[in-house]
Amino acid sequence: MKTRLSAILIFLGPALFIMTVFIIIPIALSLLISVTDFNVYAIFDWRNAKFIGFQNFINLFSDEIFWKALFNTFYALVVAMPLTIIFSLLFALLLNRGATYLKSFFRLSLYLPSITNTVAIAVVWAWLLNPRYGLLNWFLGLFGIAGQNWLSDPKWAMPSIIALVVWKAIGPNMLLFLAGLQNIPDFLYEAAELDGANRWKQFLHITVPSLRPQLLFVSVMLVIGYLQLFEEPYMLTKGGPLNSTMSIVLYLYRQGFYQFNFGYASAVAVVLFGIILALTAIQMRLRKYQE
C-alpha cells in the first residue's frame, strides 16, 4: 500500500526543503559563481557579476599563495594522518591488552580532547607554546633542550598545528579501533601461538587484516577532515608566518570574506571538492583491489 502524498510531504518535506535551499541549490550556485568575477559589487546586485569562463581557475594555477596553501594542506595531511592512525591504534591495542583497572579512565581522558572546542583549546595551546612563559619550552629546558618560537618560526609553525590536530583526533579513532579489536575472536591468536607466531607476526597477520574495515573508514574520514584544515591555523597563526601555515580553506576564507572575491574563492572551493572526491575514490578503489 502506498503512503498518502500528504504524509510524504509532511514528514519528508521540511528536511528536503531545507536541504534544497541550503545545500543542493548552493552546490549548483557555487559551481556557477566559480566561473564569474563575483565580487563585492555583486553582493547586493547579482547582475554585476560577469561570466568569465575558467579565468578564475587559470588565475589559481599561477597563484603562488594558492600553491603554498595546497602544499601546506597536503603536508599537514601526510604527516598528521599516519601519526593519528599510529597513536590511535597503539592506544587501542594497549587498552585492549593491559590496562584492566583503569581502562575506562584512560579511554575517557584520551577521548576528551576531541569534543572540546577547537577555537578555545587553540587559545590554550598558543599559551602552552609561548616562547618565554610557555610550559613546553620550560619542560624542554628541564632536559637542556633549547626552546623554540613555535608559532612564529616558519619551520615550526606547521608542526605545532599538526600536534594540536593529532592531539584532538586520537580519541574517536581509538574508540573505533578498540571496537574492532574486541570483535577479533581469541582462537585466531591461540592458533597462531600454537604455530609459533610471535607477537609482531600476530599483529601483522591477524590484527591488521581484521581491522581493515576500521582502517579504511578512519583513513577516508581523516583525509576528508584534514583537507578542510581551518580552525587551528586560523587561531594559532592566521596562516603565517610567511604563509607557512596557510591552508586551502583558510585561503578560501581570506579570498571570500576579507577581500570578497567570491568568484575566486568559489573556484578554490570547487578545487577542494575535486581533490576530496578524487582521493576518496582512490581509497575506495584500493579497498576493492585489496579484497
Binding site: F22, I27, F91, G98, F106, S109, Y111, V119, L176, A269
Partner: protein
C-alpha cells in the same frame, strides 16, 4: 578477553605509556584552569607555577563585565538548543519517511540525500552567505540556525535505526485506523529513544563547537557565539592571557559536563557511525 595472565612487567609498561598519554591529554586543560585563576604577576614568571598561590576570580568577573561574555553565552545556548531540537526532529521525521513509507522514487531521493555527504561544507559557504544576505537573515538567530538543521548524516542515522523497528507494529496500528502522525508519535519516537539520544548529543556538541558558520553569519557583536567571541578576545586582549583562559574555560566546560553524563551514547554513536562502511 584472553584468559592468559599478562606478566607484571608488561602490565607496568602498558600503564606507564597510558599514563604519559593521559598527562599529555590532561595538562592543557589543567593549565587552562590554573591560569584562569591567576593574577598577572603569577602568569609572567619563570619557571611556571602549577597552582596559583593567590587564586582570584577577577578574570571571570572581567570576562562578564568588561568583555560582556554573557551575550555570546546566551546566543550559543539559544542557537545550540534550538538547532539541536530542530535537527533531531527533522532527521527523525525524514528518517521515518525513508525507512517505512512506500512511494515511487524513494530510493533515488535517499541516494540524493546521501550524496550531499560527499560535498565539503566550504563548498556551500559563499552561496549560503549570499542566500542569507538576500533573505536578510545575516546576524539573526534564524540565519545561525537554519542552514545546519537538515543533516544528511542525521537522516541516514535515524533511517537505519527506524528500519529495524518491525513492520508488524506499524501495520497493527494501521489496522486500528492510526495515521502516520500518530504512529510516529506513539510508536516510532518511543522506540527510537537510544538513537534520538545519541543524535541529540552529537548535534549539540557540533552546534556548540561550530565556528566557521557563525564567524561568517554573525558579524555583529550582539550575535557572536562563544567560539567567535573567544577568537575576538584573543585578537583584542592578546596580552591578557588569564582572560583568554577563563573564556576558553567557559566555552569548554559545558561540553565536558554533557560528555560525562552522556558518555555511553557518544561511544554507541561512534560505533554506529563506523558501521557505515
Amino acid at each position: 578477553m584472553r584468559k592468559k595472565k599478562i606478566p607484571f612487567i608488561e602490565q607496568l609498561g602498558v600503564h606507564i605509556i597510558l599514563f604519559a598519554a593521559f598527562l599529555i591529554m590532561a595538562i592543557p586543560f589543567f593549565w587552562m584552569v590554573s591560569t584562569s585563576f591567576k593574577n598577572p604577576d603569577e602568569i609572567y614568571i619563570f619557571p611556571p607555577r602549577w597552582v596559583p598561590h593567590r587564586p582570584t576570580f577577577d578574570n571571570y568577573i572581567e570576562l562578564f563585565k568588561t568583555v560582556d561574555f554573557g551575550r555570546p553565552l546566551l546566543n550559543t545556548i539559544i542557537v545550540a538548543v534550538t538547532s539541536t531540537f530542530l535537527s533531531v526532529m527533522l532527521s527523525a521525521m525524514a528518517g521515518y519517511g525513508f525507512a517505512k513509507f512506500r512511494f515511487r522514487g524513494k530510493e533515488k531521493l535517499f541516494l540524493l540525500v546521501l550524496a550531499t555527504l560527499m560535498v565539503p561544507g566550504q563548498m556551500t559557504l559563499i552561496p549560503v552567505y549570499l542566500i542569507l544576505n538576500s533573505l536578510n537573515l545575516l546576524n539573526t538567530y534564524a540565519g545561525l540556525i537554519l542552514p545546519g538543521v537538515a543533516s544528511a548524516f542525521g537522516i541516514f542515522f535515524m533511517r537505519q535505526f527506524i528500519t529495524s523497528i518491525p513492520d508488524e507494529l506499524i501495520d497493527a496500528a494501521k489496522m486500528d485506523g492510526a495515521r502516520e502522525f500518530f504512529i510516529f508519535l506513539k510508536i516510532i519516537l518511543p522506540l527510537s529513544k537510544p538513537a534520538l539520544a545519541t543524535l541529540t548529543i552529537f548535534n549539540f556538541v557540533g552546534a556548540w563547537n561550530s565556528f566557521l558558520w557563525p564567524l561568517i553569519v554573525a558579524t555583529d557583536e550582539k550575535m557572536y557565539t562563544l567560539p567567535v567571541a573567544i577568537s575576538v578576545v584573543q585578537g583584542q586582549y592578546g596580552e591578557k592571557i588569564a582572560l583568554q583562559m577563563s573564556g576558553s574555560f567557559i566555552v569548554i566546560i559545558p561540553i565536558i559536563i554533557v560528555f560525562f553524563f552522556a558518555q555511553k551514547y557518544i561511544i554507541k554513536g561512534l560505533s554506529m557511525s563506523g558501521m557505515k562502511f
